[in-house]
Symmetry: C2
Subunit: 371 residues, 2 copies
């Protein structure tokens, strides 16, 4: 009752420009000039003010400063088009939207540009539009290697900071990368098979998409997958096969798979290296094939449905909303708050199953209401 014992988290003893000015015997205008380094200040006074600033650990009041400056900060975002609300790329976009709403009151405005996933030229065209609009910062998914490099070169030339989202290109002087470590996620997929299948099981790895290079998630995931089994010691190795499918829209899609499976003498497990795993789920259901362990990526609606139905066993996910949100936040921290930011931001590698599916944000319907 008497011995008050508690901790106050973060006390505020705000130092204002005015306090600095008084201590230095100058006007607040002069202090402001040195804080923002906009010259025209006597070297001596400047030094004196700088010292006081340091001593008193002055932190500007962000509220006041953004309120006073009607300045607005423009960021540009370059992402793939989304054909429907269930598409994967809608998720990072939602994260971007969230961040946009939060930072709006600080004068941040975000322009979204979208390119076609089948058309590198559209990427380049949008990149040019972005350059013309001279944004203060850029978030991009470096989807096409060549075009991304060209874009990033221009950004560097103009000293515009940029953040890679989803995929990374190294050595390009980026501000930050935010996405999944695909190699590790491949390792994890392998482990899940290893734990849930007998040692001599046959596993088929399926890639969807064309022109896969080593920058892509699929190839990195495959590398991680093989790596897990290669470094596993003591036990028999599983039998592993890889298979590439250009597009699931090919009418002969099912027959191709039939043939492949026959060729390798049946399968116990299938690993799809991207979010298209629902295509294989469809195949298994149609062909009435049961007891095949099926693992893929990303919590898009169709994958969730096949998971609920018990066809997809595990989905490995990467928090795409968080990626979008964090990319914008990183730009804000660097440009407006002048904070140090992290160069590499790997998002968590989540294992989603039927049992925890509903606890991943994406599918949480709002449940406002009474107690």
């Amino acid at each position: 009752m008497s011995t008050l014992k508690y901790t106050v988290i973060k006390t505020t003893k705000r130092i204002r420009i005015k306090d600095i000015a008084e201590k230095a015997n100058v006007s607040i205008g002069t202090v402001d000039r040195v804080i923002h380094n906009r010259g025209e200040v006597n070297a001596e006074t400047k030094a004196k003010i700088l010292k006081i600033l340091e001593e008193l650990d002055y932190r500007p009041n962000l509220l006041a400063s953004t309120l006073a400056s009607k300045k607005t900060h423009e960021f540009a975002v370059l992402l793939p088009e989304v054909s429907n609300p269930d598409a994967y790329w809608n998720k990072p976009l939602n994260g971007v939207r969230e961040a946009a709403a939060e930072l709006q009151q600080y004068g941040v405005s975000i322009k979204l540009h979208q390119f076609s996933q089948n058309d590198p030229a559209s990427f380049a065209a949008k990149a040019n539009l972005i350059m013309e609009s001279k944004p203060e910062g850029v978030v991009l998914a470096p989807f096409f290697f060549r075009e991304s490099n060209e874009f990033v070169e221009k950004l560097n030339a103009q000293q515009i900071p940029f953040v890679f989202i989803d995929s990374n290109i190294s050595g390009r002087n980026k501000l930050s990368f935010i996405g999944q470590n695909s190699f590790q996620s491949g390792m994890l997929a392998a482990k899940l098979f290893d734990y849930s299948l007998p040692p001599d099981a046959t596993i088929l790895i399926i890639h969807f998409g064309k022109e896969l290079d080593n920058l892509n998630h699929p190839k990195q995931r495959e590398r991680g997958f093989y790596n897990y089994f290669e470094t596993k010691t003591g036990e028999a190795f599983e039998k592993l096969y890889s298979f590439e499918i250009e597009t699931a829209n090919d009418p002969r899609f099912f027959e191709m798979i039939d043939k492949k499976i026959e060729e390798i003498g049946g399968v116990s497990g299938i690993f799809v290296t991207n979010s298209q795993v629902h295509r294989i789920a469809e195949y298994l259901v149609t062909r009435n094939i049961q007891h095949v362990r099926l693992i893929g990526h990303d919590l898009v609606r169709k994958n969730a449905e096949f998971m609920r139905a018990g066809v997809v066993d595990f989905l490995i996910c990467q928090r795409p909303e968080e990626q979008g949100h964090q990319a914008i936040q990183t730009l804000f921290d660097h440009i407006i708050l002048k904070k140090q930011v992290r160069t590499d931001n790997y998002t968590s590698i989540d294992i989603v199953t039927k049992e925890n599916l509903d606890y991943y944000k994406e599918f949480n319907l709002s449940n406002y209401g009474t107690n």
Copy 2:
């Protein structure tokens, strides 16, 4: 080059009090009075202003309003003491700290009160201190059922909104609950055993702690665990046994386990229903018992270490930092922003393994630096 095609996410066309005032032919003071409902306004003018407010969808500028009002908002937080930096309860606390730092500039100040996990009286004492300090909102872990109820009754009497964190008590007029759905997390643990052990395996469930009731995570997890196997059809059931250990500090701890395992004729899997799984890991290492599938909860340092060493196979986690952060944010949203908030907030149920361990925030060391 020419057809600019982009979307601006969130445009701001700020309506100010001044705009409302002009449209209503009154002064901004009057508008302010109706906005804050502090009476003394002619009924007719009030109606008129209300209508304009609605029409123009007026949103107050949070920056300006917090800057102008030197008002400070005090929240109180009641959590268990943390004996060392690796303790579980340090994690929600870090989330609280994060939120405190972010909301500081809005005048939010947070007082932290901590009780002993072995002493219900200390909980009650701290609760009284909180009542005396008359905070605007409270976050609490309802650790002791009786004492929590008493506290919550007083809060309700004073109309102070409160948020439960970690555990929930239903029907107490809470503002919100933030934590894990333990029943589901138990189901998930069961599934992981089911996938990775043969159908007739023997599994031992171990609870640490005393006086476990149905409100606790452990019992709920156990219920979910049994439920999974009970509802599983078609295959043989695993053999399941439960075992309660009051404290791992008991010198006869290892012998107790020896005896139990002998009694049930050996085990293939052990499930520990809380973060103490490292105790069992120690046991297995000391006794040199291998090939036992070991699953537990929460990413505390010791658990992570035994996971890296390959002794713990899976950890089921609940994002404790997020819980702390969100609890404070919820109070802020309700009290300052007057937003509608969610009554139940279940955090994700994460499956952590050796392969994705490093991608869970808690153990990400900072990697500031160059590209």
